[in-house]
Symmetry: C2
Subunit: 203 residues, 2 copies
């Protein structure tokens, strides 16, 4: 194949140019990037008290909270009733606020199989609701959320709540489960658009 004069010129320029300094090897968005989203839903699943938080705005620094709260299920309710309530409540929230991305807390520790199973059931109800609404769903470990929000992976719950309060200009710290959910959404907002060596897992 022949080389056009233009291509020849470009090649000469590249050979003559000074050596490039070290830089990111990936300048363009690639598969490692998170889906960009302006409305993000964070979920901290639990059978009796699922926390949720919706934020608007791009980066964490300019985000504002649209809604947050806890889906409470009384101790006397059957498990299936709680799960339906979780799925329905989250469905209502998604219909109202139209998030594009859902970030859910991944399990990091369980006391025993029964706990892991029940936690899994609550996650299943959340995931069905989010998948039904067509959201892109990611999971994030609590340590990573704390690291992103408080700067310390083993931060206490109250520290997370206070940081969430400050980042979102709230009058007071949100309830613990809701704060965790808002922190998930904020951590996602902070990470999106950056290339990460350990990208979040889409589930």
């Amino acid at each position: 194949m022949g080389v056009t004069p233009r291509q020849f010129q470009e090649l000469q320029q590249r050979v003559r140019a000074p050596k490039r300094a070290a830089g990111p090897i990936l300048d363009a968005p690639t598969a490692g990037l998170l889906a960009p989203a302006r409305v993000i839903l964070g979920i901290d699943p639990s059978l009796r008290g699922t926390g949720y938080g919706v934020i608007r705005g791009g980066r964490a620094a300019v985000a504002e909270s649209a809604a947050f709260g806890v889906v409470n299920c009384p101790a006397g309710w059957d498990r299936s009733r709680c799960l339906l309530r979780i799925a329905e409540a989250l469905g209502d929230i998604m219909r109202e606020h139209r998030p594009v991305v859902c970030v859910i807390e991944s399990l990091f520790y369980a006391q025993n199989y029964q706990t892991a199973l029940i936690m899994g059931e609550a996650r299943g109800a959340c995931l069905v609701a989010a998948a039904q609404a067509g959201l892109a769903i990611y999971e994030m470990a609590p340590r990573r959320v704390k690291q992103a929000i408080v700067g310390y992976g083993a931060a206490q719950k109250i520290a997370v709540a206070k940081m969430v309060q400050r980042l979102l200009n709230l009058a007071e710290p949100p309830p613990a489960d809701a704060a965790d959910a808002l922190a998930l959404a904020l951590a996602y907002a902070q990470e999106q658009g950056r290339y990460s060596l350990s990208p979040l897992k889409r589930i």
Copy 2:
């Protein structure tokens, strides 16, 4: 309080009657009884292959299968997509066959927390679908199902499938996951109407 002649006569009869032989202490239906149902849905939940089986008819001896099969989710699918598919497929089946009771397999063993969590997620999707359809939901341990159907709690999968085939007059044994689901429904049919010292757990 006075005693009427009729009551007196009854009392005399009871005193004169021969001693009763040992018998069940509870003759009448009580709280320990399962909800009676003619159409029963059995579910054997799993992320990639949830088995389901619907049977009609009262006792196991006269039951017939209305539908059975496996909800398959390819290995490449995201977990949330699988969960939505499970919930939707079961929702369709419940709308078509209108079961009143759902019997779901309880977890008896998990290799690790991750397995228990994923199994829990699949169960959560099933439970949301069943609760949405308003079914009475019970869980049953695999050992108890095998004991009821094959007469041996540690029976092999193929033995369960063959017994299900015989009980339901099927041309050939159903696929393993569907057979387990049908066995759950049959075991429920067998137990309903009887008083049990270890009643099934409603969840």
